[in-house]
Structures are given as structure tokens and as C-alpha cells.
């Protein structure tokens, strides 16, 4: 007697559209139109000068032919020492950055830290993410003088901004019931971090560290140009002396290392899942 089936005889509806994201049609059309006009205007003011593009072409050809053939040996010693410097800068900055990031990330996760600590750690993260590495490097070079120390300081700071933020977000996304289960056993706060949080964020923590290692190496080549040591400094010197063949060799080596890093980091990330 409780079982009833619906027996309405209205004609079945056969028309359906997904509800739009912006419900108000006027607002929707106004926004769409506005964006279209702005885009058209922006492209209109771009003013591409095809004559100058054409003139640049032979110059580019000359420039690139200067790269040929790459010369690995004329400045072999300088390349090698620049590379080694970049590598240790990368490793040191990543290790140091991760070390600093872990407490900052824990403090910056809303589900773990109390409000004042959370705000403090989040501002630290925001601060270290505000400026581009190159700007920070210029600042540190002014502060500590030319050389790899300024580079390590720069990359460490950049690593904290990147790693702490992403790790904090991962901590905030943990499975609540696993964490409750550990709390329910009477575990202390530190034990809870160790047993409930750490296993859940570990794969991503390792993956991010490896990824950051890769980024830091590439960055080390850039910040060297503003005087923060490493292979970038060597590259800069090569350009200054118009030794394009040496510069080409350095660029090839950087490409090779970045690709190798990409490949190995993929393997490592898969292994820790």
C-alpha cells in the first residue's frame, strides 16, 4: 500500500540544456560582449610591423650561425666549474628550502595550526612568492656580493614560497577520518602529525621536492646572469665575450641536464606513489 508509481500524463519533456554558469542572461551577454570588444581592441593596438620582423630575420640567422658548431672545449674548465657550482647550489637550496618549508607548511595548514600561526606562516609564504627569482637574486647580490651564496639564498627563498604553499595545501586536503582515528587513540599532537598526516602527504612531498630540484637547476642558470653564480654566470661571460660557440655548448648542456632531470623525476615520483 505504500508502493506508488508516478502516473502523471503530461507529455514527456524532450528539451534540456545545461544551466549556464552566469544565470542572469543580461549580465552574461554584457560580459561576453565586453570581453570580445576588449580583445579586438587589444589586438588592434598591437601594431605588428611586418617590415621590421622581416629585417630581423637575417640578423637571427647570423646570430644562430655564430652558435655553430658548439664548442665544449675552449672554455671547458669554466663550463665544468660553472656546472658543478650550479649543481651544488641547486641541491643545497632545495634541501635547505624543503627543510625550512616543512614547519612553515605545517603552520600554514588551517586544519593543523591555530589561527595566529596560520596567518604568520601564510604571510611568510606570500612574501617569498611576491617577487620573481631574478629580482630576489639582484637584491641578494647587492646584499652578499657576487657569487653562489647569493644564488643559494635566492633559490632557497623561492623554494620555500613554492614548496611550503603546495605542501600546506596538501595537508589541508588530507582525509579527515584517518586523522580522527589517530586522534581518537589518545595520540599526542606530534604523534598525530607523524601517523595521520605524514603518511598521507609523503608521496606528494617527495614528488614536489624532486620537481623543485628540477626548477632550481633551471633557475640557477637564469640568476647567474645577474651575478648569483653558477652556470648562468659562465653563460653570461660567454655572451659578453661574443663566444657564441661556447654559449651554445652551455645551452646544450643545460637542455641535456633538464631533460635528464625531467626523466628521473618522473621515475622517482612514480616510485613513491
Amino acid at each position: 500500500m505504500t508502493v506508488t508509481t508516478q502516473t502523471s500524463h503530461a507529455p514527456a519533456r524532450n528539451y534540456w540544456r545545461r544551466p549556464p554558469i552566469i544565470a542572469n542572461p543580461r549580465l552574461r551577454w554584457a560580459l561576453g560582449l565586453g570581453l570580445g570588444i576588449y580583445l579586438a581592441a587589444a589586438i588592434g593596438t598591437l601594431d605588428i610591423n611586418w617590415i621590421r620582423v622581416a629585417e630581423g630575420w637575417p640578423r637571427a640567422e647570423r646570430f644562430f650561425s655564430g652558435f655553430m658548431p658548439p664548442d665544449f672545449f675552449a672554455r671547458g674548465d669554466a663550463i665544468l666549474s660553472g656546472l658543478l657550482e650550479s649543481l651544488w647550489m641547486t641541491v643545497a637550496a632545495t634541501a635547505l628550502g624543503v627543510l625550512i618549508s616543512v614547519p612553515v607548511a605545517i603552520g600554514g595548514a588551517r586544519n593543523v595550526a591555530p589561527m595566529p600561526i596560520y596567518l604568520f606562516c601564510r604571510s611568510l609564504m606570500a612574501l617569498s612568492r611576491t617577487f620573481h627569482e631574478v629580482l630576489i637574486a639582484i637584491f641578494f647580490v647587492k646584499l652578499f656580493g657576487f657569487g653562489p651564496f647569493a644564488g643559494v639564498a635566492t633559490l632557497t627563498m623561492a623554494t620555500v614560497g613554492f614548496y611550503a604553499k603546495l605542501l600546506a595545501e596538501d595537508i589541508e586536503a588530507i582525509n579527515v577520518s584517518q586523522s580522527e582515528a589517530i586522534r581518537a587513540t589518545g595520540a599526542s599532537w606530534l604523534q598525530w602529525l607523524d601517523y595521520a598526516i605524514r603518511p598521507q602527504v609523503r608521496p606528494r612531498a617527495i614528488g614536489l621536492a624532486v620537481y623543485r630540484l628540477d626548477i632550481n637547476f633551471r633557475e640557477s642558470a637564469i640568476i647567474g646572469i645577474v651575478g648569483a653564480g653558477g652556470i648562468g654566470a659562465t653563460l653570461n661571460t660567454a655572451f659578453d665575450r661574443y663566444e657564441f660557440d661556447t654559449a651554445a655548448a652551455i645551452l646544450l648542456i643545460i637542455i641535456g641536464i633538464v631533460m635528464a632531470a625531467e626523466y628521473t623525476s618522473g621515475i622517482i615520483r612514480k616510485a613513491v606513489q
Partner: protein
């Protein structure tokens, strides 16, 4: 003295939901009490108020003669060691091994560094092995929790709660994610362990026939209030209607018994 005493327990969530409305209950030592009721009745809230995973709005929870609701965080932590909890979705730490999950039940008793290096006291480890064997998981200690089936995971959950050597077992729908046969096995295991150890238990359960089978006492919750409190065989169709609302109870309970093994419990 009852093991668990709730008096005038009330919980209103910040969203405004009144999940528990002035609930008073006593659970004597050694009793296995089933808590039934429709979805949203407040069963999970009640259980979670006992170990304060949820903070009660008012009223008090006494375990033995100690008032849990008034405890500061340190005292609460020590009190939680005496209360084992078993969860619906098992709530194992997925990426830890079975042994680590079981041993995590001892965290309240060991120091931080011992737990960090996974150096638990020998007697804890031997208890863990004994318990794993008891729940039917001998030899599984090094498997990762996420490599287990649902039934196996819940067995780990049971071992984790029991290694605490609790006075009180809080069980929140232990079988809701399991098939009917595994459900019965898990419920039977919990009931047996309670008898063996003289444990007091509050068991939330959706499955009325299962509650009838394994509990000595049934409390029916409806919209945050107790509407039934009595023996399992007092759960007449009328009582069930009062708890769950109108439904053809003879048909449904009959079906539940047909697939089980409880002839004396027929409608």
C-alpha cells in the same frame, strides 16, 4: 557504577542542526548496546560526543566516574586511551602497514621518539601479533592497509581499537560498507570480543536484524531523541515505525531474517 553515563546531552552544530536533543542514557559495565535510527538521527554525533571528536553543546558524558566533558586537552588525551573506536569506513591510515595501524592504538602510551622510530615496547608488539591472529589476519602485518579488502580493513580497525585495552568500545556503523556475509562475520567478531573481554560497547548500526542478533539492548534514536530503549525482541513493527517512520516492517524484517540464521527472531 555504569561504564557510560550520558546526561542531558545536547548537540547543536554551528549550521543550526540539532543533532542530539537532551539525551540521557546509562550503559552498565559489560553491556553491548545497539544504537539504531534513521539517517541523520544523531547516532554518529552521540558516539563522537563520548570521545569528544565532536564537542557537545551541553550536558555531560561520564566514563566511569570521570566527566569527559570537563576535561582539558591533556586529560582528554589520556581518557581517549580508555575508549576504543571503530569506524564505518575503517579509517585506517591507508599508506601505513597493517602493523603500524594496529600499533597506532598504543600511541597514547608510548613516547614520541619511540613511536617515530616505530620502536614499540615488546609487549605491545606481541599483543599486536596475538590480536592480528585473533581477528584472522595472521601473517598480514607488513601489508599496506590500502592493499586489503573491506572486511580485512575492518578487522585491522578492530585490532587497533582493542590494542588500546579499552574500557569502552565506540563502534560507528562497522558493517555499513560490507556485504551481508562479511557484515555478519564482523559483527559476530565484535560481539565475541566484547564477551571475551567483558567490554562495554555502543554500536551504531543501520541493519536492524543484525542489531537484534548481536546486541543485548537496543536504543532507538529519532531526530536526536531516544524513542526506544529495551531488549531486541521488543522491537515490534510499532516500535520500528516509531523509530523509522511508516513502512511495511513485516515484509522488510522477514526478508532480513530469511538470508540470516536466526530462526528464533522471526516476525
Amino acid at each position: 557504577m555504569p561504564t557510560l553515563t550520558l546526561s542531558h546531552l545536547t548537540k547543536r552544530y554551528p549550521t543550526g542542526d540539532l543533532a542530539l536533543d537532551d539525551v540521557s542514557l546509562e550503559v552498565p559495565e559489560g553491556q553491548v548496546m545497539a544504537l539504531i535510527g534513521p539517517s541523520g538521527a544523531g547516532k554518529s554525533t552521540l558516539i563522537r560526543c563520548v570521545n569528544r571528536l565532536v564537542e557537545p553543546t551541553s550536558g555531560s558524558v561520564l566514563v566511569g566516574d570521570r566527566n569527559v566533558t570537563e576535561m582539558g586537552s591533556g586529560k582528554l588525551r589520556r581518557m581517549r586511551r580508555r575508549m576504543g573506536m571503530i569506524f564505518q569506513e575503517y579509517a585506517l591510515v591507508e599508506r601505513l602497514t597493517v602493523m603500524e595501524n594496529v600499533l597506532s592504538g598504543r600511541l597514547g602510551y608510548v613516547g614520541f621518539w619511540a613511536s617515530w622510530f616505530r620502536r614499540f615496547p615488546r609487549e605491545d608488539i606481541s599483543t599486536a601479533f596475538t590480536l592480528l591472529e585473533r581477528v584472522g589476519l595472521a601473517g598480514m602485518e607488513d601489508k599496506r592497509a590500502d592493499a586489503l579488502s573491506g572486511g580485512q580493513r575492518q578487522r585491522v580497525g578492530i585490532a587497533r581499537a582493542l590494542i588500546q585495552n579499552p574500557d569502552l568500545l565506540l563502534v560507528d556503523e562497522p558493517t555499513a560498507s560490507l556485504d551481508p556475509k562479511t557484515s555478519r562475520q564482523i559483527m559476530r567478531l565484535i560481539a565475541e570480543l566484547c564477551t571475551e573481554r567483558g567490554l562495554t560497547a555502543v554500536v551504531n548500526i543501520h541493519d536492524v536484524p543484525l542489531a537484534r542478533l548481536f546486541a543485548e539492548r537496543v536504543v532507538g534514536l529519532q531526530a536526536g531523541g531516544v524513542v526506544y530503549d529495551g531488549p531486541p525482541n521488543g522491537l515490534t513493527p510499532d516500535a520500528l515505525t516509531q523509530i523509522y517512520g511508516e513502512e511495511d516492517w513485516n515484509a522488510t524484517t522477514g526478508k532480513g531474517d530469511a538470508e540470516g540464521s536466526a530462526p528464533e527472531d522471526g516476525p
